[in-house]
Each structure stands twice: as structure tokens, then as C-alpha cells.
Symmetry: C2
DNA sequence: CTACTTTGGCAACAGCGTTGCTTAAGTGCA
DNA sequence: TGCACTTAAGCAACGCTGTTGCCAAAGTAG
């Protein structure tokens, strides 16, 4: 097992509440553990890779890396030499001189590794293959009947992912795969990878999707709610901001990204947005409550009053922005996509003066990209 | 400057967005930086101290520390030897044998250092001195007119804190002070320590409270909103839970604790709870909005309808619990304290079946204790 | 052509946790 | 009482990390 496979496997194990030590990015993360030299090295390696990823193809000089990491230039030289040896980093020409020897620029080699992301939706499967820079190098799309149950769906997903494994990178052959990220309808337990009671699909309750797929595919698999993958994709680069992804489809859901990390809550249940009460003693919702955003918003959609639906969504979003001091609100889902302008305008209106901007998610494969980011994130040192 | 002063000063500097490296607990934290050997050592030291703090006076064996940190027993021996040399850790007898040599227990020495916390309320000042275990070793209370402005208030706070500095620990003399934590009415910028526009007290806007106090006192000062200090105190021990502190006083505010850490948002403005809209197009609130929790709840209180106030508060709390997947809701503030039973019952009712419990905060000095915890937290490796 | 500045590698070093081994201090059984 | 076994914990040597001191390389500025 090479270093990278070990890293992602161990990281996944960490996500599972287990092992630590000796992994790239092993210092930060949920488990409050001790740090030894391999963990230290993994952290610094991942940090440098992360900075180079952010710099793009033009790259960064060693001295800039030193300044931004707080390490000495000599330490950066050693770290980058290591990473060049692994093929993850390459030289990218020289920068402009600032009065002395011009710096040698370094860049991430995006083709060195790749990740696969899959979005299991209620009626469709989307799979993407992305390189280390997060760029989509191939994508697939096919109909899927989520209600057909675990057996059928698992076959379809496994087939599509294996196809993605074999897909050649631009020019050369396929890169080593870091792992597979899966986005599925919630609720589900992110730590164990077991599905919960998905509304309308009781046959999935308790199904260990992550474990089953990992067994079939033989690589690390990370499973998360589609809304969490969505918020990860919508704002992949930001280090510390807070953003919210609001999904309006058959229901309303939210993905939260706080301090630059997806927030999942103590039971993986965070982001329950649809049943926020917005009108005390209002109309009865299918959840049994009264005056939930979902019933107010979707009823308005059903009546054809999109402006009212957007206003309701905006008010709920404003609550969320005020409570969590959020930067960005990203809207997505089929209802929004069908009338993006109306919804963005309505939400932006409610958010006026609160310091947050409303945008609309790129339709289609965004959630699948976010699923791939579930794998890339830990590789670049984000807490698993 | 001794190691500890250096640690807390540097940690405070980190809170301020600046320096890193060579500090206790230097590995985790907001700034995503490189890790060198001193930072690694600081992290492991802080981690061991944290575990010993949680174990209380009975202490922990070296092998348990090894297991819980993931480090080797030998590494733990070296670390604890260092900490014993600094007087922070001491032996605490022997544990029961499990078939071999019984383990030598180690415990935190709470008197080795101390911290001071101050709660600046609108009409009262409370100051506590706490030891490393978080126990209050002395507290003071005096009337304060926050509206008298920065000059008068600063004098009063500085006097009270200096008095706390000199207070002898039980038995021996005063312990070295790690720093001072200040809780003040929000809004304020936690990173810079500058106050914002506090409702009803325009003369405080833009006042650099943290800097001014640090200059006068000559020690590290951390400033945070009273609600953030409140949530820190309410659940000081928990490592990973999520809890919310809801304060009902002249207004409604919330402190959020997510993944075991106080969440402050991108502009230090998180926890804006009072103006969550709970009744679309409801009664007009002083904030200009309509149907905010604050106007609904406080109007009910004014009418003497505490049950309705509690119900409204409960519904808003339920929104928050659902959205953030929170463990615990802690209620505080004078309105709650005046009728704790009614409010706990009302909120607990709304929370039924959501997996969160409602409790009431210890009245009085709780926020000041939380302020002291702002200083202790970084010492034990919590992100500053 | 001659300073001067900046970059970045080489070599020696200090300090971290780890490994291998030894000693200490108990339990359990004959 | 004696012996084997188990667990705890320290000593010494070690490997590997980033750091420091030094020097060569490669530009700019006059």
C-alpha cells in the first residue's frame, strides 16, 4: 500500500471514529489526539499541497509558502522536495525578480491523483471524476430508480464508479484514485455511513451504504448527505468563510459550512431546514408541525406564486444568516433551477443589509463534484 | 517571560490573527499553519493537561494517557516528566493493580496557575478567580453603570481585576495568572476586541476594550460576548457536543457551541437569536422586522403570560436544535431566572422527541466563569 | 564590471516521539 | 515460601522532523 492510499484509508478510518497517526493531514480533525512526527509531517505536506492547490497553475514560490505556513524556507524546501519526489508537485518556471534571484515557482500536479464523486438522487445517478485541482475530467449521467432498493441501486452505482476508475486522464492513462465520495438523500449517519429513514423510501433505512460500496470497490468510500456535498462544492476554495446551501426539491434541506468546514452536528442531523417554523400556528405540515418553511414555500410553488415562495425562502434564509453570521447563501434544487431569477431576487431582497450574498448553484453535477470533494478535502488536510 | 506567560500571550496573539508556533496548544486553532517541533510539543502538553483536567483529583495513569492520546507510553512518560517539572502535574498515589505493577496516578495541580473572569453587565460587575480545574476560588460583585461610559467602567473593571490578581489561593499565596477573560454585552468583534453598537449604549461603539484593558493590566486579555461566555461556562467539560445558551434579559441572545467550540461566525456576529422571525408578518419589532422571537416572547412576558413566552421561546429553540443538531439547550437571564420552572417546562415541551434536553443555567456568576474559561481553554489546547 | 539582494541547497544540529531493553512492583498458583 | 507471569515505567540509542549557519547561484542596479 503506497503512502497516498494509506493516507486516505487512514483518514477515512478517522472519519469513522478510529485510527490516527502517520497520515497526511493527521494533525487537525475531529479526534483530539496526540501528534507524533509522522502526523506532523503529514500535516505540513497537506498544508503545502493545499496552498499550491489554491494558487492554481501559475504556482507559488518557496518563500511565499514559507511565509504562509510560518515554517522556515529551508523546511519548505525539504517538504517540497519530498512532494516532488512523489510526483505531486512540479516546478512551474520562474517568477519576476524583486531585486534578487527570481523565485522558482512550484505548482500542484493535478493529474497525479484523482477522486470520484457520485450523486445518488431519487431518479438519477451522476458520477464525476475530478483531478486534484477539483476539475471535472469526465462525467456520466443515467436514470436511476432510488425506490428500486439497495440491490439494484448498488449495482448501478458500483458499475458507474468502476467505469470512472478506468477513464484515462487527459493525455496520459488513469491516475491513482484517492477514493470515492457518495452523496445520497438524507438523513444518514455520516460517521458510520448508514442510511436513516429517507422520506418515501423505507426500504433503505439502516442500510450500510458506505461499507457495502467500500467492500465492492476496494477503495475508501465517504458517504454524506446531498446537501452537505452541495455546500462543499458551492464554495470549495474558501478557507474560513461560512456558507449555506439551500436545496429546494421534493423537500427543503440545507447544508452548512462553518469556519470553512461542513458542519454535521452531534448526530449527523444538522441542516434540518425544511421544518424550521416560520409561522407560529400556521398551516399544518406533513411533518406534523405547523407553519414550517417547507409547507409555506412549497404550497406557494404549488399555487404558482413563485414570488411568495421566494419571499418565504428568503425570510428563512435571513434567519439562518443572522443566527450563523454567514457569508453566502447558495440556492439549488429543481424548484429553484426552474425559476432561478425569481428565487435569487427574492432571497437577496430578504438578505439586504445583512452582509451575505445570494447566488444560485451550478445546476446538474454540482452535488457530485461536492461528493468528490469529500475525498479531496482530507487529502489537503481538511478535517475528515 | 516564562513558558506559560509566553503560551497565553502567543495564544492571544493567535486569537488576534497573528503569531504562531512554539505555544502550548499551537497545533489546532483557526490559523491554518505549519507545525514545527515546539508547536507539536505544545499541542501534546496541552492535550495531556486537558485529559488530566477531565479526570479530576483522582488522576489518570500513564498508560491510560497513552491510550487516549495515541502516543506511546514512553512519550507520555517524557511529557508528564516535563509537566511535573513545571509544577503543573503531580503524582496522586497508585491505582488498583490489573494483574501487574499498579499504575502511578497523575493529576493536574489546579493551584499551579489561575485565571480571572469578569462579566460586565448593564448594571453589575462580577469578577471571579478560578484555578486550573475551573473551580471558583474567589468572587466579587458590585453595582456598575454600563451607561456611565468607558472611562468609569474601565476604572471599575481594572480595580476589581487587580484585586483578584492579589487574592491568595487556598492555603498558599496567589498563583501566576494566565490571563483575564472579559464578557461584555454584544455586538463586538472578538478578534480585535472592539465593541460594536450595543443597543442603548452608543458611547461604547468602536471602543477597543480588549486593548485598553490589556494595556492597563499588563496581562493577556480575551474579550467575548456575554452569551458566548455563557455557553462556554454551561458546558465547560464536554469535548465534542453541541449546546446552545439562550439568554432572556433586556433582549434575547444566543451563544452557540458546536463541535465543542464556541462558534462566532465570520464577523463575530453569530448568535443573533432575538430577531429570528417566528411569525411571518407578525407584530412589528423594535428592530424594524416583524414577528421576531424577541417581540413575541417579551410581549408575552409584559402581559404576564409566561406560559406563552415559554412556548414561543421553545419553538424558536426547537428550530435551532433541528437546524444545528444540538444536544443541550441552556436557559439563562433574569426573565428566565424569575420563573425557571415555567420556561424549562415550556422549552422542554417544544423539544420533546428531538433528542435535546433543556436545563437552566446556574444564575449569577456563570457568565463570569465562562469568561475565565476563555483564558483556560487555549491553555488546554482548545482553539483560541 | 562591481556591489547588493534574493533564492535555495548542503551540512551540522537540537529536539520530538519511537524502539529495544532493563528494572520495579505487583498477582496467582503450587 | 518460592517461582512464573504480568504490568508499569525509566534509560539509552535511534530515526526523523524542522532549524540554524553557511555558501553558491542568479538575478538587479549603478
Amino acid at each position: 500500500m503506497d503512502t497516498v492510499s494509506k493516507a486516505i484509508t487512514a483518514n477515512t478510518a478517522t472519519a469513522n471514529g478510529g485510527v490516527r497517526g502517520g497520515v497526511r493531514g493527521g494533525v487537525r480533525g475531529g479526534v483530539r489526539g496526540g501528534v507524533n512526527l509522522p502526523a506532523l509531517r503529514g500535516h505540513n505536506d497537506a498544508l503545502v499541497l493545499h496552498l499550491l492547490r489554491g494558487a492554481g497553475p501559475s504556482g507559488l514560490g518557496r518563500s511565499e509558502l514559507a511565509e504562509r505556513t510560518g515554517l522556515t524556507p529551508q523546511a519548505v524546501s525539504k517538504i517540497t522536495a519530498r512532494l516532488r519526489g512523489e510526483g505531486l508537485v512540479a516546478e512551474a518556471g520562474r517568477g519576476a525578480s524583486t531585486g534578487g534571484k527570481p523565485r522558482t515557482l512550484l505548482r500542484l500536479v493535478p493529474e497525479a491523483r484523482c477522486a470520484v464523486g457520485a450523486h445518488i438522487d431519487r431518479d438519477e445517478l451522476r458520477v464525476v471524476r475530478v483531478d486534484l485541482a477539483g476539475r471535472v475530467t469526465a462525467d456520466w449521467r443515467e436514470p436511476l430508480d432510488f425506490g428500486a432498493g439497495p440491490g439494484v441501486v448498488l449495482d448501478a452505482v458500483a458499475d458507474a464508479v468502476v467505469r470512472a476508475f478506468a477513464h484515462p486522464e487527459s493525455g496520459a492513462g488513469p491516475s491513482p484514485v484517492l477514493g470515492v465520495g457518495i452523496a445520497a438523500p438524507g438523513p444518514l449517519d455520516w460517521r458510520t455511513g448508514v442510511l436513516g429513514r429517507v422520506t418515501g423510501f423505507p426500504e433503505w433505512e439502516g442500510f450500510p451504504l458506505r461499507e457495502e460500496l467500500a467492500g465492492r470497490l476496494g477503495v475508501a468510500v465517504v458517504l454524506d448527505k446531498d446537501t452537505n456535498a452541495g455546500v462543499g462544492a458551492a464554495d470549495g476554495g474558501g478557507d474560513f468563510g461560512a456558507s449555506v446551501y439551500l436545496h429546494v426539491g421534493t423537500g427543503l434541506g440545507a447544508g452548512l459550512r462553518l469556519n470553512g468546514e461542513v458542519y454535521r452536528g452531534v448526530r449527523s442531523a444538522a441542516g434540518e431546514f425544511g421544518h424550521q417554523v416560520l409561522m407560529l400556528d400556521g398551516p399544518v405540515c406533513r411533518c406534523g408541525g405547523r407553519g414550517c418553511v417547507e409547507v409555506l414555500c412549497l404550497d406557494a410553488v404549488a399555487r404558482g406564486d413563485l414570488a411568495e415562495a421566494a419571499r418565504v425562502l428568503g425570510e428563512a434564509a435571513a434567519n439562518l444568516v443572522a443566527l450563523l453570521d454567514v457569508d453566502r447563501v447558495v440556492l439549488g434544487g429543481r424548484v429553484v433551477e426552474a425559476a432561478a431569477g425569481v428565487f435569487v431576487e427574492g432571497v437577496a431582497g430578504a438578505l439586504a443589509g445583512r452582509g451575505a450574498v445570494a447566488t444560485v448553484a451550478l445546476a446538474g453535477r454540482g452535488v457530485a463534484e461536492g461528493a468528490a470533494e469529500l475525498v479531496l478535502g482530507p487529502f489537503f488536510g481538511r478535517p475528515a
